[in-house]
């Protein structure tokens, strides 16, 4: 092996490990929904290439109200879907759309775009 091959191989392997760790390891950051004036737990989620925050924590037993703001135009993210709740909402670009979820039992509920490219998790505790 020549020197450049050794360098490329080492850098390549490090990049593979780095990318794997970056994308595949569990993400820890989560944001808690706060109880608003309505008595429901509320949180605003920005949709732009993903959901931020994408891990939302809410209390069990109280309704949850999520405000979605989509700041992009692609067709992929135009609908957000909560399959477990049989709820979905169309998100017109730039507008705030509120999705109302009933009080839920503790557990993890996924949400995503229609094609399953963007993912988020609602954690009910």
């Amino acid at each position: 092996m020549t020197l450049d091959q050794i360098v490329v191989t080492t850098v390549g392997m490090l990049a593979i490990i780095g990318i794997g760790a970056f994308f595949l390891l569990p993400k820890s950051s989560e944001v808690r929904a706060t109880v608003g004036s309505s008595g429901a737990q509320e949180l605003t989620i920005v949709v732009k290439g993903g959901y931020s925050p994408d891990r939302i924590v809410a209390e069990a037993g109280a309704p949850i109200r999520l405000h979605f703001r989509r700041l992009e135009s692609g067709a992929c993210s135009e609908r957000v879907v909560f399959p477990d709740f049989r709820k979905s909402a169309l998100l017109p670009e730039g507008e705030e759309v509120t999705l109302e979820l009933p009080a839920a039992k503790p557990g993890e509920y996924g949400f995503q775009c229609e094609m399953g490219m963007l993912h988020g998790t609602l954690v009910v505790r």
């Binding site: 091959q5 993903g50 709820k87």
Partner: protein, 704 residues
């Protein structure tokens, strides 16, 4: 689960998204226009990219073309200048046509989740960077062969992927066509009677209990009950029933259906979100938001898919750099770019949602509401269908079937006297006799006396004749000899009918028989179910003899007779214990527990009540035909889903190794990144096109 608002909550937009009445969902109706804008934007990007890609493709290899070869010889300053111009132009393509890929890349880093955009951005970006470095600093490369440029890869890939995205939007719009059709059924105005005057008002202003007037050829604005007039109503758009239904005073009419020739006045029962149409739209949208269970597995795969592709691409680069032929760096770059570009996570992600949306929508067009992806996947795997007899196979209302005259009285006179006597009776069997007589155009008389004996029969005086109708014991207690009457009685009973003796002036005069009549299309639907390979069983509280008689008439081989209402669930469980996957068809209220217990519960809808909680599938039209349709559609949809998944899976498992150059050592074939881009765009368009093929679903001939 349903939405719930806290008592003092502000009105919330989203409950409204599903309601065609609200502004939010007008937006749903206008969604095509937002899609249209996005489509146009993508098409502009495509034309720009294509306009630059075409000359770039030619000018990247000028030595292949006579004429150009002389103008731009290899290694000349002219060629270098040309390539610099191309580099600038393709940077423009990346910045304009490919902007979404790069913002996607940035976001995928902030979100730590990779998407298709990530792959395309890295792929096209790497090709551009390689070319630009080769051009700007050729001295970094060991030999001249390294310094070819790949701006064609950059521009062509961007152009093709953008074109694919535009076509996707077009095709996607078509899959949700059914919902748009349903929303479009709602008229904008209604003619209501206010202060005695017919006034045309916006449909949102119509209130419950108001009277609406519907003229010939008009669409019925809201749900109601006819209070005056009559008409035949075309309900095909809601129930899938192709023949217009005759409706008179007291009949329910459904908003959105079409009045044919008559005109009538209806009292409004539901408006806005409460109407059957709004409920149907909501249920279809809810169903489209669910997942086919198999997609959950696919989602797990696709979450890891994209990062793994990036890792594979780097791995490919390293292997080609270390082991590949010279110029190793160029080959390694091309292999990496090709790998990134050929992978199509979108095809995986879209495989089932597109089919589900189309299938559920198609079912709704035929009056069948499939409530979730689970119901859809469940329905196509059923092997046994249990039909509740009353109200499912039969109309649930007894009707007069036979009149047997045994004495001197002619049949019509016997029926006339019996019906006149039954007029005083509140028993459904008695009312069936009355209805039967009126249906024959007989004029009934007033009874001068009337007496009913519970569980026995009735005695009445009609036109001076003493008329008695009842069972054997009642007749004998009244001192009437039965003579030869028990013969026909037994024959009628064996046919599953309910015969009653009629005695007139102390002598047996004949028999009348009533039976629950079988719905017109039950027999045909049962035949179709069996043709689909399902075993059909009938569930009833009737005694075994009556039940068997009916089962014979309609071609059912398995009879679950003498089942008390509370035992229906146990019967379903028993069948399931035999290893069967059972679909139960019944009404939404009495049979709710059995519907829930079954693998798939089909509820027979009645009029405007479509939101039946216990049901996995609601048959709005009330006909068994809907069960056949639901199963046929779910089979067609799941076949479509499997085709899509299989296609997406095969595509990626074949495409990735080829892109990585696995064929190269054996055949010398290395996939061009341009072909990879074409294949990738084509594969996701194929998935959607295949799903929208379901739109062409037609129920089988026999059912039309």
């Amino acid at each position: 689960m349903t939405a719930r608002t806290t008592p003092n909550a502000r009105p919330v937009v989203v409950d409204a998204v599903t309601d065609p009445a609200s502004p939010a969902s007008t937006r749903e109706g206008e969604a095509p226009s937002e899609n249209e804008r996005e489509y146009r934007r993508l098409m502009r990007k495509w034309w720009f990219a294509a306009a630059i890609a075409a000359p770039t493709m030619v000018l990247s290899y000028p030595w292949l073309f006579p004429g150009l070869r002389e103008l731009f010889p290899r290694g000349s300053a002219e060629l270098r200048d040309l390539w610099i111009a191309m580099g600038v132009a393709s940077l423009g393509v990346l910045a304009y046509s490919g902007s979404q890929f790069f913002s996607g890349l940035v976001q995928s880093i902030t979100h730590r989740s990779a998407t298709m955009h990530t792959l395309i951005a890295i792929g096209t970006g790497a090709a551009w960077l390689y070319s630009t470095v080769a051009l700007a600093a050729p001295q970094l490369f060991p030999s001249e062969e390294f310094t070819d440029v790949y701006y064609d890869v950059t521009t062509v890939v961007v152009a093709l992927v953008v074109l694919g995205m535009a076509m996707e939007i077009k095709a996607k719009g078509r899959t949700s066509e059914a919902i748009r059709k349903l929303i479009g059924l709602r008229p904008r105005t209604a003619r209501v009677i206010r202060d005695g005057v017919e006034t045309e008002v916006p449909v949102d202003d119509v209130r419950v209990e108001e009277l609406v007037v519907v003229r010939p050829g008009e669409r019925i604005p809201v749900d109601g009950v006819i209070v005056a007039g009559a008409s035949a109503i075309d309900e095909s758009m809601i129930t899938g029933e192709s023949i217009p239904v005759d409706k008179a005073v007291g009949a329910e009419v459904i908003g959105g259906t079409m009045n044919t020739h008559g005109s009538f006045t209806a009292r409004v029962t539901h408006v806005g979100e409460q109407t059957a149409l709004a409920n149907i739209v909501r249920l279809v949208q809810e169903a489209q938001a669910t997942k086919v269970p198999i997609q959950r597995i696919v989602d797990q795969v696709s979450r890891f898919f994209t990062p793994i592709v990036v890792m594979l691409a780097i791995f490919g680069f390293v292997v080609w750099y270390d082991l590949g032929p010279a110029p190793a760096f160029a080959y390694a770059t091309i292999v990496m770019v090709t790998t990134l570009i050929i992978a199509c996570p979108c095809a995986l992600g879209m495989a089932t949602p597109m089919s589900l949306t189309t299938g559920v929508g198609k079912a709704a067009e035929h009056g069948v509401l499939i409530r979730s992806g689970e119901a859809l996947q469940g329905a196509q795997r059923l092997d046994t269908i249990v039909l509740d007899k009353t109200g499912t196979i039969t109309k649930g209302q007894p009707a007069l079937t036979d009149v047997v005259a045994l004495g001197d009285l002619p049949q019509d006179e016997l029926l006339r006297l019996a019906a006149s006597a039954e007029r005083g009776s509140e028993h459904p069997l008695g009312q069936a006799v009355v209805a039967g007589a009126l249906g024959k155009g007989l004029r009934l008389s007033e009874a001068t006396s009337f007496e009913a004996t519970t569980g026995g029969g009735i005695a009445a005086t009609i036109d001076g004749h003493g008329v008695r109708i009842g069972n054997e014991r009642f007749m004998l207690e009244s001192g009437i000899g039965l003579g030869g009457a028990p013969g026909p009685w037994v024959a009628l009973a064996e046919d599953g009918k309910t015969p009653m003796y009629v005695g007139i002036d102390g002598k047996i005069a004949g028999l009348v028989a009533v039976a629950d009549t079988i719905k017109d299309d039950s027999v045909r639907a049962i035949k179709r179910l069996r043709a689909l390979g399902l075993e059909v069983a009938m569930l009833t509280g009737d005694n075994r003899r009556t039940a068997s008689a009916i089962a014979r008439q309609i071609g059912i081989d398995r009879v679950l007779a003498e089942v008390r209402p509370g035992d229906k669930v146990a019967e379903i469980r028993k069948l399931q214990a035999e290893g069967r996957r059972v679909g139960m068809v019944g009404d939404g209220t009495n049979d709710a527990p059995a519907l829930t217990a079954a693998n798939v519960g089909f509820a027979i809808g009645t009029g405007t009540d479509v939101a039946i909680e216990a049901a996995d599938v609601t048959l709005i039209g009330g006909s068994l035909r809907g069960v056949v349709l639901a199963i046929e559609i779910s089979k067609a949809t799941m076949r479509n889903v499997y085709q899509n998944l299989f296609g997406a899976f095969i595509y990626n498992t074949l495409g990735l190794p080829i892109a990585l150059g696995l064929l190269y050592p054996f055949t010398g074939i290395l996939l061009s990144p341009l072909l990879a881009a074409a294949a990738m765009s084509f594969s996701s368009v194929t998935v959607i096109t295949n799903a929208s093929r379901l739109r062409g679903f037609r129920p089988k001939e026999a059912l039309a």
